[in-house]
């Protein structure tokens, strides 16, 4: 669970969609669909960065606080936070949950409909879409209660997920697959999703400090690998890792997906907002 101070920082942020939202209930996003009235919808507290033209000065005068008047006909986006719930995410799960919570909070604060779907052994477990900050706790509890296990083909699960309204899917995974996530991105695009990708890797995966004769046991049941790790091999691993990360990045780029690499060794709250803003996952 993220602390209040961090969540407060997220108030002014919301997921960035490249395409206009469509359908759904009214949201904070400008829709292509033309509204027939400028019906007042809701107030939202002003956060730095908001358009000051939308500030309701009457509310300010009344409450001595800045509020934005949601009076334009705006529509919600359906945002799915797809968490990789396979065993490889085991030690990275807390960090993944933090990322999901932060993003969900930002999306809920922005008026989007948000759900968390966890894809793992046994299929996809999806919480119902939520709206408003009141659903933040529900969604964060849903993610935190899950324990990653087993292995799964997320691309297949995504294809079979229903309902899956068009919108945006933030994929949080380590993407440690042979295709570096390309099949998943293709499946999401097939389902009409804009894709964002957050790759979560642990310090042991990013900067392994092993040495000696080791037998690596894969958490997802792949055959064990016996190695004698020395400096040379570590250099070769780094080369391979860099190429792999580049492949993931390229796949994201090909699919128009903003990409962030999160090191679980760093405190998420310290780097999350910066990285999300830099990558364009949040605005």
């Amino acid at each position: 669970m993220l602390d209040e101070q961090f969540l407060h920082k997220l108030d002014a942020l919301r997921p960035r969609l490249l395409s206009r939202a469509r359908g759904g209930a009214g949201g904070s996003r400008a829709s292509r669909m033309l509204g027939t009235s400028a019906e007042f919808s809701d107030f939202r507290e002003y956060a730095p960065g908001d358009d000051i033209r939308r500030i309701d000065w009457n509310a300010y005068a009344r409450f001595d606080k800045l509020f934005l008047k949601l009076f334009m006909e705006e529509q919600e986006a359906h945002i799915t936070i797809l968490l990789d719930g396979t065993a490889s995410m085991g030690e990275k799960w807390p960090c993944a949950c933090q990322i999901a919570e932060a993003y969900a909070y930002a999306a809920l604060s922005g008026g989007d409909r948000v759900r968390i779907a966890i894809a793992g052994e046994g299929g996809v477990s999806a919480a119902p879409f939520g709206t408003g900050r009141r659903d933040y706790l529900r969604l964060s509890s849903f993610a935190a209660a899950y324990t990653p296990k087993g292995q799964a083909d997320l691309s297949q699960l995504v294809r079979a997920l229903t309902p899956y309204p068009k919108g945006l899917t933030l994929t949080i995974s380590d993407f440690l697959w042979e295709d570096a996530g390309q099949k998943l991105f293709s499946a999401l695009r097939f389902r009409g999703q804009e894709v964002c990708a957050v790759q979560v890797l642990s310090p042991q995966e990013l900067r392994p400090a092993y040495s000696g004769a080791l037998r690596l046991l894969d958490s997802e049941g792949a055959p064990a690998l016996s190695l004698t790790v020395d400096e040379r091999l570590l250099r070769q691993y780094q080369d391979r890792l860099n190429r792999f990360l580049l492949s993931v990045r390229e796949n994201c780029h090909k699919n128009g997906a903003p990409y962030v690499l999160m090191d679980t060794g760093e405190k998420a709250e310290d780097v999350l907002i910066r990285q999300f803003l830099q990558s364009g996952i949040l605005e």
Binding site: L216, E220, A222, L227, D239, F244
Partner: protein
């Protein structure tokens, strides 16, 4: 290959330990990781980039095994058959028995061949001395490092016709060992008994041989004495007279027996030769010569008229008796012996009276006896004086006694005279067999027969009374001075001395004791169970190889990665 330290084989446990460690090393630490994807890809990258990685790993293990094996091997101190170090003295028995042929090869040839093997096994910095011992000891090679000279020295060795006394050569070798230390003494012989500190190289296996022990002739009859040093055999013996075959006999000789063979030979033949026709181990002793010697004339002047004495003197064919008086002796020439017959009988080489004094006549109360004085054997040999009686005598003084009557000397002799202290008529000695024998003894002592050069054994030195030219059995011609010593008698057979217009043949025979070659010495090594062989330890080379491999392994192990 020998191993100087066989217990070092325990070091071969090391390769076994290495193998065990290698398999133990394969126990890896389990490490759970989220995903092995990247590691697997990395390993594949490494294999693709370094396809010989696995091979390098195996090569490392093989190198380590090889190093361990080399070290273990070196612990055993292996040694290759190398060359014998240290100085060597080879003593060759060149006696007549080394001529014996066995399977067509003489014992000396066998010895030389074995010596060559030893020389080939010697280190090039090991000095070699070669001594040959026949009639005398010769140094064929002295502390030489030149192996070609050694081979020449071996080739020059010849078995002689004499015996061999190896003691002087062995003493020389021991002296060298005492001075230099570490000298190996090898004796190549067929009859040397083992001694401490000496290695005897046996050069024979035992062979059968027959030999002519003696050959003599009287009148028209010649007798050869044959020894059979072998199994029962039928032997053929020929007799030649002055080069022409005159008789041949076939005789059976039992194992180890001596047999006599009689031949008919011309009385006037000067040189008789007996020869065994059948082949045997030694050819040299299959021939024997008999030389009839023309003694020439020996003038003996006799003053007296004792008939028995005259006959006794004339028994020797060369004696020409001149009956005369003492007064006429000065006018005689060429007299070898003067004999005065009277109440004493005096024999002398000169006309003058010898330094002998006769005492008063005494009755003989004791029988005549031989006096046992040194040097009297020449005069008393073959005498028994059995039944010899003496009536009276004059005791003699001067010279050495050779006859006694009681305590009195009745027969005395000096350097060139002899005397009897009794009248021959006062004794029955002239009627006894002893009388002519005694007279012949006195003749032989005072007027020996001129028989030219006597026969002898090979290696024996002869003093020739006359100088001249000697032709050896092999046809060599040598010159000898008057009264010179002729020592070149190594050849067996007939020699001829030409001196003063006359020819004096004489024969030298092989040492008879060398004819029995039925036994042969066995090889006895000095204090060890086997031959002393050189060994070249190769431990150092193995250690060097191991060190190089360690360096290679170190370099290779740095480059080894994942497997």
């Amino acid at each position: 290959m020998n191993f100087l330290q066989p217990l070092g084989a325990i070091g071969f446990l090391a390769p076994a330990l290495i193998l065990a460690l290698y398999f133990l090393r394969r126990k890896h630490t389990d490490l759970p990781v989220p995903s092995t994807l990247l590691w697997r890809q990395t390993a594949e990258d490494a294999s693709a980039a370094h396809p010989f990685q696995r091979l390098r790993k195996n090569a490392l293990m093989l190198l380590q095994l090889l190093i361990a094996a080399l070290l273990a091997f070196s612990l055993m101190r292996p040694a290759l058959p190398g060359r014998v170090a240290g100085e060597t003295v080879m003593i060759f028995d060149c006696s007549a028995s080394m001529q014996a042929k066995e399977n067509g090869v003489s014992r000396l040839e066998t010895a030389v061949e074995k010596a060559r093997e030893h020389i080939n096994a010697m280190r090039s910095d090991a000095p070699l001395t070669i001594l040959s011992v026949g009639g005398e000891t010769r140094q064929a090679l002295s502390r030489s490092l030149d192996r070609s000279l050694a081979r020449e020295a071996l080739s020059s060795l010849r078995a002689e016709n004499t015996g061999a006394d190896l003691s002087p050569a062995l003493s020389l070798a021991r002296a060298m060992d005492a001075e230099l230390g570490g000298v190996t003494i090898l004796i190549f012989s067929d009859s040397f008994f083992p001694q401490p500190g000496v290695t005897v190289i046996g050069c024979g296996q035992g062979a059968e041989n027959r030999a002519l022990l003696s050959f003599t002739a009287v009148g028209d009859t010649a007798v050869a004495r044959i020894a059979n040093y072998g199994k029962d055999a039928e032997l053929t013996v020929e007799c030649s007279a002055d080069g022409a075959l005159c008789d041949a006999k076939r005789v059976f000789a039992g194992e180890g027996e001596n047999v006599s063979v009689f031949f008919r030979a011309p009385e006037n033949a000067q040189i008789l030769l007996a020869r065994l026709v059948d082949e045997d181990a030694i050819e040299t002793d299959n021939a024997a010569y008999f030389v009839r010697r023309d003694a020439g004339e020996t003038k003996v002047a006799l003053a007296g008229s004792n008939t028995f004495l005259e006959h006794a003197l004339q028994l020797r064919q060369d004696v020409r008796l001149i009956r005369t008086t003492q007064e006429e002796w000065d006018g005689l020439e060429g007299v070898k012996l003067y004999v005065r017959d009277g109440d004493t009988v005096v024999f002398s080489r000169s006309a003058g009276f010898p330094p002998v004094t006769a005492g008063e006549v005494q009755a003989a109360e004791d029988p005549l006896s031989l006096a046992s004085s040194a040097g009297a054997e020449a005069l008393t040999r073959y005498l028994t004086l059995s039944g010899v009686a003496l009536r009276q005598y004059r005791p003699l003084s001067g010279g050495e006694a050779f006859l006694r009557c009681g305590q009195d000397a009745v027969g005395v002799w000096g350097e060139d005279w002899a005397a009897l202290g009794f009248d021959l008529h006062d004794s029955n000695l002239p009627l006894k067999y002893d009388f002519p024998v005694m007279i012949q003894n006195i003749l032989s002592y005072l007027a020996p027969q001129d028989e030219g050069v006597k026969d002898g054994k090979c290696g024996q030195s002869l003093t020739l009374s006359a100088g001249g030219q000697v032709t050896t059995p092999l046809g060599r011609t040598l010159f000898v001075e008057d009264m010179g010593v002729f020592a070149d008698t190594g050849e067996a057979g007939l020699y001829r001395l030409r001196a003063e217009g006359k020819e004096y043949p004489f024969a030298m025979v092989m040492e008879p004791g060398e004819s029995d070659v039925r036994a042969a010495a066995e090889t006895v090594y000095e204090g060890e169970a086997g031959p002393r062989t050189g060994q070249q330890e190769i431990t150092g080379w193995l250690l060097l190889a191991a060190l190089l491999l360690i360096l290679l392994e170190g370099g290779l192990s740095r480059r080894v990665g994942a497997y």
